[in-house]
Amino acid sequence: MNGAQDLGGKMGFGPVDPEVDEPVFHAEWEKRALGVSLCSGALGLWNIGESRHARESLHPADYYSPSYYEIWIKALEKLLIRHGCVTLEELETGKVQTAAADGLKPLQAEAVPAAIAGGGPCDRAIDAEAQFAVGDHVLVRNINPAGHTRIPTYAKGKTGVIEEVAGAFVFPDDNAHGRGENPQWLYRVVIEGRKLWGADTDDSLTVSIDAWESYLEPA
């Protein structure tokens, strides 16, 4: 979806405001928000695509809220309700009223280092051959799916050159919505700044996106 998250090239957000000696967390609740998000994710009920979609499908007024951890928490609440971990009433009252489903194992403290060090690789072996090769000219398709996608709007309809065939990766547009991992080849596509933003653009600028094969067609 080309929602509030699809920010490349939008105007009106003002200057970047880098903070000198920025702390890792700005408040105690941010620490807990990070931890609750990661621990909930570790239950294995949803994948990173579904999680990203829960964030990007927040109302823009919620998405542009002051702390990114607010976005995480609002999205996490949606995911927890959707997957039957909590009810809206429980969130509103703060009181537990239902039991959790059997068989869910919480991430234990002693398992955290291995979970972080292991991560969640998204590359997969596939039989299909890559359709594009380094140096090929490609068009980023102008498609606007209502669900999760990782095509930034600013690149749609633009042509670029394949710089790397990066391997086959889980296809987020399907995986986010329970349609399976359906891995596809992933490519890095380099696009000239002028093609993206017009003739007045600094001609020294190029931008690359990482695009799954079905986002692209030969140019």
């Binding site: 957000f13 200057p15 880098p18 609740w29 234990q108 992933l186 380099v190 690359s208």
Partner: protein
């Protein structure tokens, strides 16, 4: 928001879905163990050791893992080297993708709309907000992290650092220099 997060943690904990002690370990990890000092080590080693630099260029995930930096949001790494001709900058216009294994958690500005919206369109203007002015002849390459590849910028080794040890060089490698919104510091 503080009360909301506290309530959520309490509910999930009471239901046996999360272990608050695990949250403590996660927070400790990103506050004290995993941060830009990891990336600085990678860069300093690449500056000192051409074989490592070549490995980093050809298989960044493996080269970085050899220093013990692996895992979450660093599963598929790419290292991009600044040159006298090209300056690299990383962004995630669609969310907040960032190489946690080498840089830790992203700073607020990296996740915020001003950077995510303007960076890809007005890179020199954004760099000036970081106090960085690049020569007009230097090409700018933006890397939008739209998939699961995570990018680490290897800044150019500053002049005057030729005699410095790898350990000392680490102190010149700032977080922003590994995102591309800064340069490595000059030796004092």
């Amino acid at each position: 928001m503080a009360a909301r997060v506290r309530a959520l943690e309490m509910i999930l904990s009471e239901k046996g879905l999360i272990d608050p002690a695990a949250i403590d370990v996660i927070v400790d990890t990103y506050q004290n163990k995993v941060g830009p000092q990891n990336g600085a080590r990678v860069v300093a080693k690449a500056w000192c050791d051409q074989t490592f630099a070549d490995w980093l260029r050809s298989d960044a995930t493996a080269a970085i893992a050899s220093l013990g930096f692996t895992g979450r949001q660093g599963e598929h790494m790419r290292a991009v080297f600044n040159t006298p001709q090209t300056h690299n900058i990383v962004v995630c216009t669609l969310c907040s993708c960032y190489p946690w294994s080498v840089l830790g958690l992203p700073p607020v500005w990296y996740k915020s709309p001003p950077y995510r919206s303007r960076a890809v369109m007005d890179p020199r203007g954004v760099l000036e907000e970081f106090g960085v002015t690049l020569d007009k002849d230097i090409k700018i390459r933006f890397w939008d992290s739209t998939a699961e590849l995570r990018y680490l910028v290897v800044p150019m080794r500053p002049a005057g650092s030729e005699e410095m040890s790898e350990d000392d060089l680490c102190t010149l490698v700032t977080r922003d220099s590994m995102i591309g919104t800064g340069l490595a510091e000059l030796p004092r």
